[in-house]
Symmetry: C2
Subunit: 425 residues, 2 copies
C-alpha cells in the first residue's frame, strides 16, 4: 500500500507525432480543448480564484474509496471528497447497490417512487427538529427554499446572512461576482459570524420585518481561517429569532452529517426552525433537502417549488443507505478521530521542519494554513509538493474526511506530507 | 400488446388485518404516510394547483420505454415523459449503458471527467449559436445563469420576462407563490407573449438599463392554451436586443430538442445570444446547461457559479449518447409525426362522440383542452377515464412525446381514449 515512487505528473505523454502534443499530459491536452468550449476553461469549484496551481489536474478518470486517479493515471489519497459529498467514500458498494437497484426499477417518472417517502421518514426521524422534508438538487436550492418558507410565514422580508458566508451561487447568496444588481441584496442585511453585537444590531435594524437569520454550521467561508461557533452566539441568535418570530435557518449543506448525525447545532442544544442539507446526504448522488418543524409546515405548504429532477429515485435510495452506513460507523466520531490523527501528524511534521502552521475547523473538515503566508504562496507550494507525493489537499478551502479513510490511509498520506514539508523551502 | 382489461386502480389491497388498511391501495397508504412528512403530502410538480384528480397515482414503481407502472401495478402508456426529460424513453438501453459505464469509472470527484468536455464540444457543435457551455442541475439554474451573464456584460439591470411564462421556481422567476418580497421582481418587467407592442413598451421603459429579454421556445405556460411563436414577434425581440445591446435569452429548457436539434428559434432563422437547456438533454439524468456565443464569453467568464453536483460524470455520458440517439432517429420530426397521429385520432374520436376539443402547441408537446370547460371539469373527467384505460394524459399541462413511442403505442393509446370519450357524460 505504501507509496514509494514519486508521481509522474506531467510525465505521461500523449501519443501522436506532433511534437507540441507529445510533451503534453492528457490533462493539459484536455485543458486546451476546454479553453475553447468552457468560459475560463472551466466553470464551478475549479474556477474559483485564486485558482489551484497548474500542477493540480483538472480532469479525473477513476475513483475508489478515499482514492482518486487523474486522467494521466496519477493516484491520490483524497482529502476533498468531491468538495464534501463523498462522506462514505467513492463507489461505496452498499450505497451504490441501493442506488442501482432503484435506478433499475425506476429513476425518473411522472411522480416519485416510494424511496422518496422512505428517506423523508428516515431523515425526519434522525434530525431532532424535523417534522417534514422537501427535496431538491443543489444545496443552494435548499437554502433558497428555507428563505421562501421563512418569508411565507408572514409578510416579513429581511433575511440576515453572515457577511462572508457561502450559501450558494444564486444571486441572493452571491456577492462575489458580477451579474447581480445590488438591489437584489437589499433584503439580505449582514452580520459577522460569532459577533453577537453585529447580529443584534442587524436584527434591531430589521425589527418588525425580520423573516429569518441564516447561520452556517460553523464559519467555513473561504479563504478565511475556520472558526467553530460560539455557543453563546448560537443562543443569542436563537433568542433573537424567538423574540422576532423569525426563522433560525441552519445551513448544514457543507457541514451536515460530519459533525453530527443530527442538525449540527444540536450538539450544543440549539435547534433551528429550518435546516438546509445537500452534499453528503446521498454520498454523491445529487440530492439536497430542507427539513423543518411543524410550526413551519403551513408556511412550507404555501410556497411552490419544483425542479425537473427533484423526484429522481436513485438519490433517495442512496440517501437512505448512506444514513445507515453513517450510523453504523458512528461516522462523525470516526472522522473526527481520523482527522485528528492527520492533524497531529501534520503538526509534528511542521514543528520538526520548522514551519508554523494553523489548523482550523473541526478535525472532520480540517483546514491547513501557514503562518506568515498572506498570499498563500507557501500553502500552494506545500500542497503542490503533497500532490506530487500522492496526497490531494487544498491550500485555501476546508478539506473533508470520509468513513472510507482508514488509519493506514492517514499514515500513508503523512508519508507524502513528510516529503512535502521536507521539500518546502 | 393491445389492452383488453380495464385497470384495477384502487382494487389492489394492502395486506394486513386492519379493515381500514385493507381497502386501501398501496398508493393511498403511501399518500397517508406522505401527509405526515411532506408539506401538502407532496412537493413539486404533483403539488401544483389545481392538483391532479385523486385517481392519479402519486407513487410509481417501474418504467420502460413509453410505459410506466404505479405502485399498485397499473400500467400506463405515458404522455408526460416525467414532465419532459424522457425524450428517448425510460431506461433507453444505449443511454443507460453510457451513463452506467461512466458511473462505474467515475461519477463524482474533485474535478470532472473528460465526459463533461466531450459533451460540451458535441453540444456546442450541434447548437448554431453556441461557442461555449456551462452546466448545472436544474433548468432554473440555467435560466438564472443566463440572467447573470446578460447582466455581467454591462452594468444594466433589467431582464424582461413574459408575464405568465415559467422559467423555474426560484424567487426571481416565481410570482405564483408566497415567500418572495415583491422588490425581488423590480428588475424583471413583463411583456405579453407574441405581443409586439407590449415587448416594445417594456423595452422602451427599460431603455438604457436593459440587460436581456427572456423568451420561451413557444408559449407553454400553464394552464393557458399553447401558442406557437409568431416569427414577426421573434424578429422584433431580436431587433430590440440588437438595438439595446441586450441579450436575447432563449429558455429552451422545456421545449429543447423536441422542436429542433438546434436552438428552437433557429427553425425560423432567429439566433439567441444565450440559451438555457435542461430536462431532455441527458434523457432523465440530472443535467442543465447554458450555451452562448463568443460575444458573451467574456461576460460569462466574469461570473462565478457552481453547485455540488455540477461536475457529476454520468449525466454527461448520458447526454452525449442522447444527442446521438436523437440525431439518428431525426427525433423532432419523428415525434411530430407520432404526435400528429395521436392528435388526429383524438380529433376524430372527439368529433364522433360530440365533444369540442382544442389541441394546441406543437404535436411533439401537445396540449388537450375541452371547449366550454372553464373549470377544466370535463378535461379532468376525460383524463381520469383515459387513466383507467391505461393512458396517462394531463388535463392542464402540455404533454410530451418521446422517440420510444411507436405507431402501435399511439394506436393502443387511442383505444383507451376512445373508451374515455365514450364514458364522458
Amino acid at each position: 500500500m505504501v507509496r514509494t515512487v514519486a508521481h509522474n505528473i506531467r510525465a505521461v505523454k500523449e501519443t501522436g507525432s506532433d511534437l507540441d502534443v507529445a510533451d503534453k499530459t492528457r490533462d493539459q491536452a484536455l485543458r486546451e480543448r476546454a479553453q475553447r468550449v468552457l468560459p475560463n476553461g472551466m466553470y464551478g469549484h475549479m474556477a474559483v480564484r485564486p485558482r489551484l496551481p497548474d500542477a493540480y489536474p483538472q480532469f479525473f478518470e477513476r475513483t475508489s474509496g478515499c482514492r482518486m486517479w487523474d486522467v494521466d493515471g496519477n493516484e491520490y489519497i483524497d482529502f476533498i471528497c468531491a468538495y464534501g459529498p463523498m462522506i462514505a467514500g467513492y463507489g461505496n458498494e452498499r450505497i451504490r447497490a441501493a442506488a442501482d437497484a432503484q435506478r433499475e426499477r425506476l429513476d425518473m417518472a411522472n411522480g416519485p417512487p416510494a424511496a422518496l417517502l422512505e428517506f423523508a421518514e428516515k431523515f425526519t426521524r434522525q434530525v431532532s427538529h424535523a417534522d417534514w422534508a422537501i427535496f431538491a438538487k443543489n444545496g443552494n436550492d435548499a437554502t433558497t427554499v428555507c428563505n421562501m418558507i421563512a418569508r411565507s410565514r408572514s409578510t416579513k422580508r429581511k433575511i440576515l446572512v453572515c457577511e462572508t458566508a457561502y450559501h450558494g451561487s444564486q444571486p441572493w447568496a452571491n456577492r462575489m461576482s458580477r451579474g447581480t444588481p445590488p438591489e437584489e441584496h437589499v433584503h439580505y442585511p449582514t452580520y459577522r459570524f460569532n459577533d453577537i453585537e453585529s447580529v443584534t444590531a442587524a436584527a434591531d435594524a430589521a425589527s418588525g420585518d425580520l423573516a429569518g437569520i441564516v447561520v452556517s454550521t460553523y464559519r467555513h467561508d473561504i479563504p478565511h481561517t475556520q472558526e467553530l461557533v460560539d455557543p453563546a452566539f448560537a443562543r443569542k441568535v436563537r433568542e433573537i429569532c424567538d423574540a422576532e418570530g423569525a426563522a433560525l435557518i441552519l445551513d448544514d449543506v457543507r457541514g451536515g452529517l460530519r459533525l453530527s448525525l443530527d442538525a449540527s447545532w444540536s450538539e450544543f442544544g440549539i435547534q433551528p426552525d429550518l435546516s438546509a442539507w445537500g452534499k453528503a446526504i446521498a454520498n454523491g448522488e445529487p440530492l439536497a433537502g430542507v427539513v423543518g418543524g411543524d410550526h413551519y409546515r403551513e408556511a412550507a405548504e404555501k410556497i411552490f417549488v419544483t425542479g425537473s429532477f427533484w423526484y429522481q429515485g436513485a438519490p433517495f435510495a442512496a440517501a437512505s443507505e448512506t444514513l445507515d452506513v453513517l450510523a453504523e460507523t458512528d461516522a462523525p466520531r470516526y472522522m473526527e478521530r481520523l482527522g485528528q490523527q492527520f492533524r497531529d501528524g501534520l503538526y509534528e511534521q511542521a514543528q520538526r521542519h520548522g514551519h508554523g502552521i494553523l489548523q482550523s475547523g473541526p478535525p472532520q473538515m480540517p483546514m491547513l494554513q501557514f503562518e506568515d503566508d498572506p498570499d498563500t504562496k507557501k500553502g500552494f507550494a506545500f500542497c503542490v509538493n503533497a500532490l506530487r507525493h500522492g496526497v490531494y489537499l487544498h491550500p485555501w478551502h476546508n478539506m473533508f474526511l470520509s468513513v472510507a479513510h482508514t488509519e493506514a490511509d492517514i499514515e500513508e498520506a503523512l508519508e507524502g506530507t513528510e516529503k512535502a514539508f521536507a521539500e518546502l523551502a
